[in-house]
Symmetry: C2
Subunit: 325 residues, 2 copies
């Protein structure tokens, strides 16, 4: 099986995708500095506050990912993470969630199964969500194949089932996001995601940067939804030598408001090399580099120097609910 | 979750289990020396031939198991192995099966999910086989819990689905056996296993040693079924220091006929330590010891000295079919 590039949620790919999928408008509704100040005020922060969620994706997919992500969370430099419910190492991270109720763990809603040698299917019976699975019986390998086939009603049933399964295992999710951005691939899928999130009173990863390509997005937001200024997410164009500099530059460029930095933590070990076989992008060495950067003293110092406050989805959700009362 | 002892298919546990489950008879129908000679003659071997299937269990469960088992198969000292269809590393071993059609790969029919941190469910939708899953939605952790709850009709549907799934992924199974011996736990489950095996023209792991505890077994055998003299399978009472001696003694004691030696191969690496967390029996160090023994020069020499011929399930099946014509 040929592996594929994975969606970077940085605007450019979303833009390319959205250009075809959505009718474009001339004016893109993005949050103004005044709106950012109002958001920070609602959260109880001064107008120049720079808040950062350092977020590890993909927990539950591999033991290597679980180990490195737990280490990241416990270093204090990773503030949040999200879990893939259909994967085989879910029991390990569910046990961690039960024994660490303070950990900020959301759900990485999963509608794709992207690796060659280790795969998974939906939580719901395949015959109830046939549009979600490929001919081999697993979830589609790419977000584009998935979104081309998915019936949004089946996606909705599946993500509701993933939330129910998480809760049944004792996970109380603090937020939602979408593995490989599959739920960000069309208006219908975005609507599905927000409907499910609002029904569950959960915040969703969403960035101002996406509004230009998906101009309907603001209309889907509820009064308590929180929009990131920027999502910092490293892509395949960054070389190993330029890894730290990419993150350092991005952090130095942070503006007042809330930013999310998405990292993929794992060790470059046999298991992770097996998972990411033949696919260096988001592979084992990539994840080891992410792990080394986010658990480094240099990262800790940089956050202090730039006067950046790490926050969690749980804190942001609580403050929004409190402010909304 | 507390882990549990795993069934050793050596007669004593089967006997203990069977004593409760089956009506006992005074005479246990076991194969006579004459029957062994007749079997060897049908297979085209002299009457004193000692044939051995060295068989690795549990492929598909972990990358560590796949890697070590493939290395074992390719050393020439492991002649056969079987695959767990519900597990997440199935695509890796299915790819190997497709690219190595000569490999003797059967199905390790799976009705239990025994580890704490990494688990799996049935191939069929859970709502079609509700008696197979525990309250957490996975297969039961032990063969005793599983067999206490399983409706044999649902077990039959599930193992037929596992065979169909294997074939859909390009695996042409050479034989069947039962993970943790769950399908050896009652007469109804044995009947299910043989019915499915006969319908698929596949041989099943079965040993003469089991006849005393399960006196109905011979009546379930078809004319082409092949019964092992003995199954060599190391148990938790053997210390690490006594590992090689256990196997050496068992091999030196082999009698004419066919013997199966069941091994569990993996590396003592982070992934396997995670899988077998808190469970040294059949754990990562155990599997590393098995790997070291079966790929050793000492094992190769021993087989030569004892004039033991390694055979595969495929060879035995073909010879039986040919003889039956």
């Amino acid at each position: 099986m040929k592996l594929r590039a994975r969606l970077v949620i940085t605007g450019c790919l979303l833009l390319a995708m959205a250009s075809a999928a959505f009718p474009q408008t001339q004016t893109s509704p993005s949050a103004s500095p005044a709106e950012t100040k109002a958001l920070l005020a609602r959260l109880g922060y001064p107008p120049d506050a720079k808040l950062l969620i350092v977020h590890a994706d993909d927990l539950g997919m591999a033991h290597s990912i679980n180990r490195a992500s737990i280490k990241g969370l416990e270093s204090g430099l990773v503030s949040s993470a999200s879990i893939m419910i259909p994967c085989s190492w879910l029991p390990e991270i569910a046990a961690y969630a039960r024994s660490h109720p303070e950990a900020d763990l959301g759900l990485h809603l999963t509608l794709t199964s992207e690796w060659a040698l280790n795969r998974w299917g939906p939580v719901l019976p395949k015959d109830r969500v046939p549009s979600l699975v490929d001919s081999s019986g697993y979830l589609y390998p790419t977000e584009t194949e998935a979104s081309a086939h998915i019936d949004p009603k089946e996606a909705e049933a599946e993500i509701r089932a993933q939330i129910a399964r998480a809760k049944a295992l004792g996970i109380q999710p603090t937020h939602l996001d979408s593995h490989m951005g599959t739920l960000y691939q069309s208006r219908a899928l975005f609507e599905t995601l927000f409907r499910v999130a609002h029904d569950n009173q959960l915040l969703v990863r969403v960035s101002k940067e996406w509004f230009a390509a998906a101009p309907f997005l603001p209309s889907l937001l509820g009064p308590d939804d929180v929009v990131m200024n920027t999502i910092i997410s490293i892509g395949p164009s960054v070389t190993a030598a330029g890894w730290s500099k990419f993150y350092e530059d991005a952090i130095k460029n942070m503006q007042p408001g809330i930013t999310e930095m998405i990292v993929h933590l794992a060790y470059d070990d046999e298991e992770m090399r097996g998972v990411s076989f033949n696919h260096p992008d988001w592979g084992s060495e990539w994840r080891q580099r992410d792990f080394q950067f986010v658990t480094s003293d240099a990262f800790r110092k940089l956050l202090q120097e730039q006067n950046i406050k790490l926050v969690t989805w749980r804190e942001v959700s609580k403050l929004m609910k409190k402010a909304g009362k």
